[in-house]
Symmetry: C3
Subunit: 351 residues, 3 copies
């Protein structure tokens, strides 16, 4: 597929600067672009990397003017670039499959209008599914689940009994919602599993990453608040209550009954112990280990997690610890000499 740069500018409602006749055959990011590609640079940092880039043209926001390359100025660079990429590599069209013949759907399940169920999905007793929701192949939905409108369950997602899923939710492949909580009491040297009578509730606009697990509550609900986005391989334990619009990055683990306020951000591989309360708009740094409550608005890092400023001071001191050790040794030497000198003086005094 070949178009002119003029055509690209028209496609994105942009202002062309430079030769509009050059042929454009694709679109890629700066790192990977080849001759014939259009790329984009929406920050000064990226602009600096254009010199070594092989792209034939670049899409930029007003105020960023690349040298030596024709460019197209638009107000929303990401949106414009998406349009060009989609032009050259049109997304796969879901054939309107409706409900696949191989899907296994309980006679007591109720599906809304225009629900799509792909091959081999299994939908249990009493399940309800809202309008325009898409259930991909190999999804397993156990009895009593309630799923909202325009939600997408990607292949091989598992929902245990009575899971409640809001509208416009995305759950990625291999995620498991509603498995048993990890709670035991010891009875005569054996671990006896706690009650598993609860379930999971995912609010509207929640997104759940691949292979992520959210365990059911012991008696009631484990709750993920509206608009919260969770990355791959995250573990949310039983009885947790995660606030709204949280961002929880990959491989985070949150132990039982912990709560978070709204707009909390956790970087990758954070661990939070059980029964901890995290305030609103808290930020937790990568790999932090949270042992105690965190007040609203704070940024915590480290193991155990403490306020960032405090941790940075400790970290800086730690880097200089070998140096500190040397200084102490030198000082010990000096003091010993002083003692000897003082001893001499004192003896001289005494003499």
């Amino acid at each position: 597929m070949v178009v002119s740069l003029c055509d690209v500018a028209r496609m994105v409602d942009g202002q062309l600067q430079g030769d509009g006749n050059i042929p454009i055959t694709g679109a890629d990011i700066i790192r990977d672009a080849q001759p014939g590609d259009v790329t984009f640079a929406d920050s000064e940092r990226l602009l600096g990397r254009l010199a070594a880039c092989r792209a034939s043209a670049v899409i930029t926001p007003p105020g960023i003017q690349p040298q030596g390359l024709p460019f197209v100025t638009v107000s929303n660079v990401q949106e414009a670039f998406s349009r060009v990429v989609a032009y050259f590599r049109p997304p796969q069209q879901d054939r309107r499959v409706g409900v696949a013949a191989s899907a296994v759907i309980s006679p007591t399940a109720r599906l809304g209008r225009d629900v799509v169920v792909h091959a081999n999905a299994v939908i249990g007793d009493g399940v309800t599914i809202g309008d325009r929701t898409v259930i991909h192949s190999g999804v397993q939905i156990m009895a009593g689940c309630r799923i909202g409108e325009q939600t997408v369950l990607f292949p091989n997602v598992v929902l245990y009994e009575n899971t409640v899923v809001g509208a416009r939710v995305l759950i990625h492949a291999g995620a498991v919602i509603g498995a048993y909580g990890f709670g035991y009491t010891v009875v005569e040297g054996r671990h006896r599993l706690s009650a598993q009578l609860g379930h999971v509730e995912l609010g509207d606009d929640v997104e759940i990453g691949a292979c992520t697990a959210v365990d059911r509550g012991t008696y009631g609900a484990t709750v993920i608040g509206e608009g919260t986005k969770i990355d791959n391989h995250v573990m949310i334990a039983h009885n947790c209550r995660i606030g709204r619009h949280n961002i929880i990055c990959s491989q985070v683990g949150i132990a039982g009954s912990t709560t978070t306020g709204d707009y909390v951000v956790m970087a990758g591989q954070v661990g939070i112990r059980d029964h901890v309360n995290i305030g609103e708009r808290v930020t937790i740094g990568a790999k932090a280990g949270v042992m105690n409550d965190i007040p609203s608005g704070a940024t915590y890092v480290g193991i155990p997690a403490t306020p960032e400023r405090q941790q940075l001071v400790i970290l800086a001191a730690l880097q200089k610890l070998p140096d500190l050790k040397k200084q102490l040794r030198a000082l010990q030497h000096t003091v010993t000499q002083l003692e000897q000198a003082a001893g001499t003086l004192t003896r001289q005094e005494a003499a």
Copy 2:
């Protein structure tokens, strides 16, 4: 559903204190209970949180007497509360599905009495399954597996060839048992996979969390001992031999050929290197990184993991490190002054 508090007391064989006529419409934990709910408090700590709780009544053990709320005293609070929760939200009844028509079962597989196989499960050649075991939808059981009685495999569990599973085992959704061990030798700049001739053995009463992976042995078995409970996202590598009644929390990773004794407890996100031996009744703190053997009975924390007491002393010292640095600087200043003074004195002496 509405019952009187009297009815609730009778349901759990408890002793009622307060107004038995109040209507009860549900049951929930202290944090989430609403008016009309009964809740429970089985510790002094929870008792303190009752003041702010909206529940209409509370179930407690003997000796814990809440103020201002009717309460029901029972000997086993968790069990009693479970009964009340189950009354208001009866668990989904598995329709007796027997073997689903859509399950794909090898003609050489042998199923015990009252085995349940849900939709789209796949059972390979020569597999044997004990009485009353439940295979949920989408489970994949490869050839030669042997599974005990009253075991439950939740949806989309995968067992590779020759996996041995004991009786009364629970394996949660998305868990993978018996994938290849991660062992390579370098041959002419390429990594060549080691032998994959072994398998996995899970003892009786083992529980495996969602998305957990246990890799097969190189030549023989990777073994999980009887009664051991493993949480979600745990990785047990090839040739490991995990003892009995271990508790292994979420996101723990144990590298190849490592062994543990009985009653070991590992908190979340622990990592243990390969070929390490952990004794009996060892406790390992969250996020610890274990590089060496640990003797029986010890508690280890930190990266690298050391005895807890030692680590706590180091940690306390670390928190005060910036302070230490300041003290050292002050001392250097004092000593410099002393040197100058001593120089003066010495010079005066000499003069």
Copy 3:
């Protein structure tokens, strides 16, 4: 099954030393071998453990001569031992299933020669699959994927749209390739998902562990280079470009747009932030947290990761920190005494 040790020696083209008439009934590693078993010892370390081993015979390389046990000398111990293990426990033979009746295959998919598709696998529109590739049960392959020759997808693997998989690739059960990248912009207090127009490319001879996730690029490809081996529960984020012949151990997390050179090795639970560039032949220690670029050939450890030598010095100093604190206190005491003495002297001077 019983053979003589002579038979075993013949089976592996080895040189027998000791009684060739003893009966051999199995093969296992030193730790687990029982009387009647043959075992192996291919290093001095293992030789030392033979004394406590119950095996009846041992396979060794030239130069390693165990005492008190008959042994068989071979040039390649692992290969020879594999042959003996496979003799006693022959691997499950895949019945030539061809394409299972229960597989759901789009009419527009194209399968090469001798492709095997197991029960309930789902293959989408326009997918192409190379000769002799094996698709296990429950695998979900979405539209537009291209898969090379002699590749194996184990049960319940999920490939999202347009995933490109090379030849001789192994992808283990539950792995998810091509899920959405975790990128958001905040618009009026809500997180809006970034473009998801890219895909994933796995080079030839790549191996992917169980439950591992590789996310698609935003606009172009997330790339895993030829020959790279990835363990279980690893997270590779959107736009990453992993070099060739990397070894990435379990539970590693690599954030968006990060790149690595060839022959990089990452131990378990490493975390790497986004937009970082790792050179060639870099080694990163277990649990390290990488915040910045790493030059080729370096070994980095710790959180934040620094060169190993530097980290070891800091770690050693840290272990002695409580001691350092004591020394400082002692020194403070001495200096105070010196000050007092100096004061006395000075006053005496002055007097």
